[in-house]
Symmetry: C2
Subunit: 300 residues, 2 copies
């Protein structure tokens, strides 16, 4: 896989859910000879992951798993990742100094929690997921062509960065780097804000006397899909990236109000120009947003 890890490293997943299970599955499906082990607080998910062939074996003993691993992937939502990190890093520093990475969608809270400083911890975030959850929904193609953002800080070990990058490339992803603050602001706009928009739209539909959701087509299907996401995970994201999300919400409000004004004033020319700009912007990003080059089904 990479010069920075042994020929046949032990990769350990701490927590096994949809995202970590998908990465485990992608590694198993690759030609890479890593042994995939996992730890979790309870057996059922781990047993399911083993039955699905995503991991080779598991243990409920965190220290034991950390001590065996060459590369550790924390597979948990932001709040749980932040809670687990100090213990993981302390064990790692005392043992054979494995590379550690995480997959949480917010990096500020994670980097703050990564104490004491451990140079082989590489904060990461795969831009892929699902409104479903649990290891049974794992999909080894989940990362094909998707971006994984690494947010190393001052002092992060460059061989550790290279090892995490190689891990993700093996799973089919493309890896970029940015600062923690840039990541959290960009993701507030590109991921967290779409969820908030979907929630506001869905809440409106739920309160509407005509039950308009009964008359939805493909537009409504797409615009409400992520409102079916895990409520606890999104509660935590909304709180953990609060300031950047509030800023993005205010920016969307301004666009909403401007659009409302154009419709109220019946300004057809300005509406057409705005809608054309949006079409150009969306089409200009088709390749990034549809990396599998699937034919999107028709809908409205």
């Amino acid at each position: 896989m990479t010069a920075s890890l042994d020929q046949d490293p032990v990769v350990a997943f701490l927590g096994l859910g949809l995202i970590s299970g998908s990465l485990a599955g992608a590694l198993k499906a690759s030609q890479w000879g890593a042994e995939i082990i996992a730890w979790g607080p309870r057996a059922p998910s781990l047993e399911r992951g083993q039955a699905l062939g995503l991991i080779d074996r598991f243990s409920l003993d965190l220290a034991e798993v950390i001590n065996e691993a060459d590369l550790i992937v924390i597979g948990a939502p932001p709040v749980a990742t932040a809670k687990l990190l100090p213990e993981v890093l302390a064990h790692a520093a005392q043992g054979k100094q494995p590379v550690v990475t995480d997959m949480a969608s917010i990096k500020g809270a994670i980097v703050d929690a990564a104490q004491p400083f451990y140079p082989k911890f590489v904060p990461g975030h795969p831009i892929a997921g699902s409104e479903n959850s649990g290891v049974q929904a794992a999909n080894s193609d989940l990362f094909q062509g998707r971006e994984v953002i690494l947010t190393p800080v001052e002092g992060t070990d460059s061989t550790a960065i290279a090892a995490v990058e190689a891990l993700w490339v093996t799973a089919g992803a493309r890896v970029t780097q940015m600062s923690v603050a840039e990541h959290d602001a960009a993701l507030a706009a590109s991921s967290h804000m779409p969820h908030m928009v979907a929630y506001a739209l869905t809440a409106m539909l739920g309160g509407h006397v005509l039950e308009p959701m009964k008359h939805g087509g493909g537009a409504l299907r797409d615009m409400t899909r992520i409102a079916g996401s895990d409520p606890i995970m999104w509660r935590d994201i909304a709180l953990a990236n609060r300031d950047a999300i509030l800023e993005a919400m205010d920016a969307v409000s301004r666009e909403h109000d401007q659009l409302r004004a154009l419709i109220a004033e019946r300004d057809g020319a300005a509406l057409e120009a705005l809608f054309s700009d949006c079409r150009g912007l969306r089409r200009g990003h088709d390749g990034i947003l549809n990396p599998m080059l699937k034919n999107e089904e028709s809908s409205a």
Copy 2:
């Protein structure tokens, strides 16, 4: 097909684009022996439709096509439909009294334009479409399992309603009826509002200094897809259903502001409750929103 039409009726499409072409294709793919003809203001789309096997033949002479038809489907956006209707209804009334229907996504403006009153005109709206346009994007499966709403008025001929219903059932759709006002309010919420939300979100992303669209995943793909729709069609819809859309926009604004307040106040319990309600609502409508029972791909 139905007792209300001859064994082998002539079905005429006035205008041939994505939606009408898809219906023509669905009729050709069915066992029904109708002859499918078309009129349009210019030859190229009609020639393409004929080459694709969607229609049997076409003419550029509107009166000639109307006089031949047993069932006329106006396949045009709302504004063009409203403009064409008086001439079509006048010709129809003078000829062999064909059934006439339309597919415009707003019914108030259409019913207002349907003068002089012609009892065999049945206003209709298939809840299906695409961000693509043109007859080359026609897809004969477009209406499978989708709802088609008919909005007959006082005096609409019941055999004409039955004929239009049978037409859509042949194409795989399920047919419902509601009043013009209910249709326009429900669709403002279920279809027009999702588009306005996608436009506001896309406009925000386009103006963001970090170019967050470059870091989009499946959530952003879905939440901006319809921002790629035809700008002129959506300009016209925004203007034609102005009042109902403004009302829906204000309702979404209220939900947006309430959500913003919960995040600002760090009210985790209320956020989780709201997100849970949204998930329940979305999942309760999965069957309607995903009539093909496709496995939605994973994304975030």
